[in-house]
Symmetry: C2
Subunit: 419 residues, 2 copies
């Protein structure tokens, strides 16, 4: 018999967390290590303790709650996501994954189910990367992809350091920010943030991997001049060169792959005056695709476009790739566990590649990893109109719980009763 | 015999003013109504008084210094420009025009020349329009193009009002901000800010008029979304639409007129994050041409391009024209006076249309108006590398003085001696 989550409690808990840092438009403003982040962490600590979990916080602020298994030698199954938000994000994003993990443990308690493997639930620090870069910072440090001292020293826009904020909110814990032992598996529930599940009329997504990406910045250096008396052929306009690249980034994906996306999300113009030809413009690029070769091709194309644009306009340019993540293919054990769970629950599912990076990206290097996707209405996310119906939240949370308990093993129940 | 300016004193006075608000890179940071503006105004008041001028300040901060003529019924000849600067402007711009006006009066004193008409020299408030918009604010109010109460209420980026700053620096004078009497003529010396004089190997420019322009803003409203999982065909990217218009503004002038220029100097992107599809982007446009019909055509084209760009990207858009100035053709009396002065001084001159707006734009509606242009090296201005050689400054200042004294009439000198 599948585990049964208490739907009413689950929804109430989702609503509770959504009140912390709530925006007027029904979204969340809960930046990493902000007062709101502290508040939700305090709240989550209490909820974990109420559920009988042994809570620990590591030196990077990652929060764990542990429920022991029946086999003292078995490796834990880790389940979770993140509670921080974009500046004006939605209330589902990664929050749903953390609350679902909590509800999973509560449902084990309700049903009196002991698992063979220990269960740990986790809230990763700063997944969003809005206030401190990069994104997925807590899981990155924990998995060894980032150096903790480097990340401690990162500063926000106001020049405030990560570590000072971590200490200020009281979440620089004692535990080393690294796996204390081997892990059996990591499962993460997240909203899809894309339209594919809804478009295909599905109830839940069985995630098979995560796209790779390249992120970078381009700066063009032209010449500032009065916009009136300077003839067109005298100009070296940094913004015109940047505009060419913005257009190219819109076009490049259509020449590469079915799932390729490319975005310029950021532009900064100097001196940014109606009456002065811009002399310095910085823009970013971002390309994603399931195929690493396509990522490389997109990277080469955007640089070629930048070079052509700079040549045309007679401006200098420079670039830096800020991040390159190879695509990830999840372990069969986890993908199968999620698929079996969805099937057992009678949910209409589809296999899907994640278009966004998640903490699971880093966990993939630590242990077998899988993900469950909840339906995103209109594929919207990272804004306040992000929406997933409670039906879809519940379907995904139930799938997560069922997959996790199967990976952890129903220790004390006779096999027949458990099914 | 032409008036002879004291070159050494003239250069020293230019250098003196350039020390007030000097930047490390040799430019000026002297925003309207700033502490630096107050300092240069105080300094200029003393210099005017030293030259025996009757100083008055009007209620909008415009500063006048008057030297009486021999005929009490004659209308004054007004000569001047502005002492304020761009955030990081050069030391010549309009400052040269004010110092040349001062030096003109000093040279009349030196030579003991009385003029038939009174002479007034003027420093107009906030020509640059960097801190408070619009540009040419003081002359605009004085000439009746702008309403004084509206302009008093304008605020800078920090929300500080124009009038409070005017009072703070002590330059809200008693005189009404309007012509007290009829004016015989207005002459203004300014650097060209374009490359034509240098390109043609000329020593001074005889300005025949000022281009007209249209300035405006466009805002595109798309949909913010996560840049990873959102397929390209789901996107309504406000920045892509804006980039199309930036490219179009670069292209439009080449399809219109020989002197047409078009610029996007400003862009603001929201939320401006590497990882979020931009949902709101504002850009400005600016087009200039000597022909008002071309201005209108450019205006219509940029809106048509914006509409096409918005349609392609599926975003909403809105626009506002913030300013439209018809082109100005200067009075023959003034143009001839400047031409004759340049010829009498043996200077190699050319007739030129101004590509930038100047206080002379507004004065044109008050009285006969003309301008003298000094050579701008490489046509650079509105940045710290703006440069005009002292030879070229002196040539232009001498032309201004000679044209002004001829318009004012050498009252007490016998005609023969004066020539």
């Amino acid at each position: 018999m599948p585990l049964r989550l208490d739907r009413e409690r689950f929804v109430a808990t989702m609503e509770e967390q959504a009140r912390i840092g709530a925006t007027e438009a029904g979204g969340l403003h809960r930046l990493a290590l902000s007062d709101e982040d502290k508040e939700v962490r305090d709240w989550f600590t209490e909820r974990m303790e109420d559920a009988g979990l042994a809570v620990r916080v590591d030196e990077f602020g990652n929060m764990f709650g542990r429920r022991e298994g029946t086999n003292p030698d078995a490796n834990p199954v880790l389940v979770g996501s993140h509670l921080d938000s974009q500046p004006y994000g939605g209330i589902y994003d990664g929050q749903l994954g953390v609350i679902a993990a909590l509800e999973f443990v509560r449902s084990l308690n309700d049903a009196g189910v002991e698992t063979t493997h220990p269960i740990e639930i986790v809230n990763w620090t700063n997944e969003e990367g809005s206030r401190f870069q990069p994104a997925m910072q807590g899981s990155g440090v924990w998995a060894g992809a980032q150096d903790i001292e480097t990340e401690y020293a990162k500063t926000d826009e106001d020049g405030v350091s990560f570590v000072s904020e971590l200490e200020r909110i009281g979440y620089r814990g004692d535990d080393p920010a690294e796996p204390r032992e081997e892990y059996e598996a990591y499962l993460e529930l997240h909203i899809e943030q894309g339209p594919y599940l809804e478009e295909n009329g599905k109830e839940v997504g069985v995630v098979t991997g995560i796209v790779g990406f390249t992120w970078g910045g381009l700066t063009f250096h032209g010449e500032a001049d009065h916009s009136g008396p300077t003839p067109m052929h005298y100009r070296s306009d940094a913004l015109v060169a940047a505009a060419d690249v913005i257009t190219a980034v819109r076009r490049i994906p259509g020449t590469l792959g079915e799932r390729t996306v490319g975005t310029v999300g950021y532009a900064k113009v100097h001196p940014n005056s109606i009456n002065i030809i811009p002399d310095e413009v910085t823009i970013t690029w971002g390309f994603r695709d399931p195929d690493d070769e396509i990522i490389q091709e997109a990277y080469e194309r955007v640089l070629a476009e930048a070079e052509h644009a700079a040549d045309r306009e007679g401006v200098d340019w420079e670039h830096e790739e800020r991040m390159r993540a190879p695509s990830v293919t999840f372990a069969d054990t986890c993908v199968d566990a999620v698929q079996t769970a969805a099937d057992d629950l009678g949910l209409d599912s589809m296999r899907i590649f994640s278009g966004a990076g998640h903490d699971a990206t880093h966990l993939h290097s630590v242990c077998d990893t899988g993900m469950v996707f909840a339906v995103s209405e209109n594929g919207k996310s990272h804004n306040e109109s992000e929406y997933t119906s409670w039906d879809d939240c519940y379907a995904a949370a139930s799938t997560l719980a069922e997959a996790a308990v199967n990976l952890a093993g129903r220790g004390d129940e006779p096999e027949e009763a458990a099914r």
